[in-house]
């Protein structure tokens, strides 16, 4: 009986270890990702050539692998436009618009890049004859080509260079500052909004300087940014200060420069209170009010009792 028990125990443990090994091999792995990471870098991030109709512009960009594994990559071009005031990028071909990506030709369609290496891709931008002067926009992408893996979602990465092409000739440069908003009462993060319009036929850069100071005048947050505005669009630029404290009174100032105009944004005062702080303050206020109302009544009752 004892021997039988021992035999059962040993068999049990052998089975248990075998099941554990099976689970460790086939079942624990699935929810984790195992493939090596790919790091793709591109420089520069944008280019603004001025090209005559019928001319060819020569340029180059670099693809850099700053990671620890090499990978195959593909180079290609797409049109570039935006939708909505938030400037959601759109790289699709519109049947009704000229396909600017066809103007771009690359020296190679892609390749294999080793870790720590840089590959220079030469390109040409050929502007057809009789192209109307104005702004034309495209993007060049370098995309990793990772092979599909069974039972997985394969993750490819692509980085792009934006082409703000100006076809030479008479163009209309026109823009304006539409709104500058920073509400007085806010929850963190303190957020301000600037809306700019481009009424012209060519893109222009808008330089924004934004500052948040406390009541003593100390700078708590500042931002310098340059935003491109595409023709016939309105762009809403939202500036959040992610490290806004839970409570505070802040002075928001700034300026916007575009098309040889410099506009100083009117100073805005902002009172920031998080939901927790608001709850605490409201609770305290209610307590104070209750005390102010109840205490006199209590005191008067007490006086009456003492008189009696």
């Amino acid at each position: 009986m004892v021997i039988h028990r021992k035999g059962v125990t040993q068999a049990y443990w052998v089975r248990f270890v075998a099941v554990l090994a099976f689970l460790a091999t086939f079942c624990i792995v699935p929810a984790t990702a195992y493939a090596a990471s790919q790091d793709i870098t591109m420089t520069p991030t944008s280019v603004s050539p001025v090209i005559n109709p019928g001319s060819v512009y020569h340029g180059s960009f670099q693809v850099i692998d700053q990671g620890k594994t090499g990978y195959k990559f593909l180079v290609y071009a797409t049109p570039y436009r935006v939708s909505g005031e938030d400037y959601t990028p759109d790289f699709t071909i519109l049947p009704t618009a000229p396909n600017i990506s066809s103007w771009l030709n690359f020296s190679v369609p892609g390749g294999f890049i080793n870790p720590g290496k840089t590959i220079t891709i030469n390109y040409t931008v050929s502007v057809p004859e009789n192209t109307q002067p104005g702004g034309y926009y495209a993007a060049a992408f370098a995309e990793t080509q990772y092979p599909k893996v069974a039972n997985s979602v394969t993750l490819n990465e692509q980085v792009g260079e934006l082409f703000y092409i100006q076809v030479a000739g008479p163009v209309v440069k026109k823009g304006e500052l539409l709104t500058w908003q920073s509400n007085f009462f806010q929850k963190p993060p303190l957020t301000s909004t600037i809306r700019l319009q481009n009424d012209g036929s060519i893109n222009y850069p808008a330089t924004i300087q934004y500052n948040v100071r406390d009541i003593l005048g100390h700078t708590k947050y500042s931002l310098y940014t340059v935003k491109e505005l595409l023709p016939q669009t309105i762009r809403r630029i939202t500036v959040p200060w992610y490290k806004t404290p839970s409570i505070g009174l802040f002075k928001v100032t700034g300026s916007v420069s575009f098309l040889n105009q410099h506009k100083t944004l009117p100073t805005k005062w902002v009172l920031v209170m998080s939901s927790t702080v608001r709850f605490i303050i409201i609770s305290i206020l209610i307590l104070v009010i209750l005390l102010l109302v109840i205490r006199p009544k209590y005191l008067s009752k007490k006086k009456k009792r003492s008189r009696k």
Binding site: C27, A31, A33, K148, V159
Partner: protein, 205 residues
């Protein structure tokens, strides 16, 4: 005459004064040359880089009759010195948004980024915490667990109409975004190795 006599008598003195003047003149010239300014010019190129923690995300499921859900994450890291910031988007690599295994497929979730939905059986989707209509908390890795009725997921958009995951106002240094992927399946889903590819895109903003 008297002047000539003075010069001859004091020839040493005259030479000393002349030499001193000469040295002083040249010294000034040398000092002037040393203080000439030189302009240092350096053009720092704009760069943008994109890195994912993993080349793939495994979302294997052991299905059950009522449905099982596997959730796994990937972290995307973007860096740029472009003062315009960056925009990060996500889309399927091609026009087919289903997970494919031969002739069998797992369709994308019916939810969108603005109105994601709790995952239905035999669908797959993605989520980014606190973005759009996604939950503000609760996303965590799960391996063939019961399908969550509260966690919301969106279907992967086809290439060409990507969803924006993040936009920034200024430069970014190793800015991370965690993307959750989920597959829910019940026993009616044919077994097989289902795959699909998605593409993260980072451009200057």
């Amino acid at each position: 005459m008297a002047l000539e006599q003075f010069y001859f008598k004091n020839i040493k003195l005259v030479l000393t004064v002349a030499l001193t003047l000469l040295v002083a003149t040249f010294s000034t010239a040398v000092v002037s040359a040393l203080t000439a300014s030189t302009t240092i010019s350096s053009n720092i190129s704009s760069v943008i880089s994109l890195l994912t923690t993993n080349g793939t995300v495994n979302v294997n499921v052991v299905p059950t009759g009522s449905g099982a859900q596997t959730i796994a994450s990937d972290t995307v890291t973007v860096s740029t010195n472009d003062s315009s910031g960056y925009a990060l988007t996500l889309a399927d690599t091609d026009a087919t948004t289903t997970l494919v295994s031969g002739s069998n497929t797992i369709p994308a979730s019916s939810g969108s980024q603005t109105t994601p939905v709790a995952q239905a059986n035999n669908t797959w989707g993605y989520a980014v915490q606190s973005l759009g209509g996604f939950n503000s908390s609760g996303y965590a890795a799960a391996n063939s667990a019961a399908v969550s009725g509260t966690l919301k997921f969106a279907g992967m958009p086809a290439t060409g109409s990507p969803n924006t995951l993040k936009t920034t106002s200024g430069t970014a240094s190793s800015d991370t975004t965690t993307v959750w992927y989920a597959v829910a399946a019940d026993t009616s889903q044919p077994s097989g190795t289902y795959t699909d590819s998605v593409t993260y895109t980072a451009t200057a903003n």
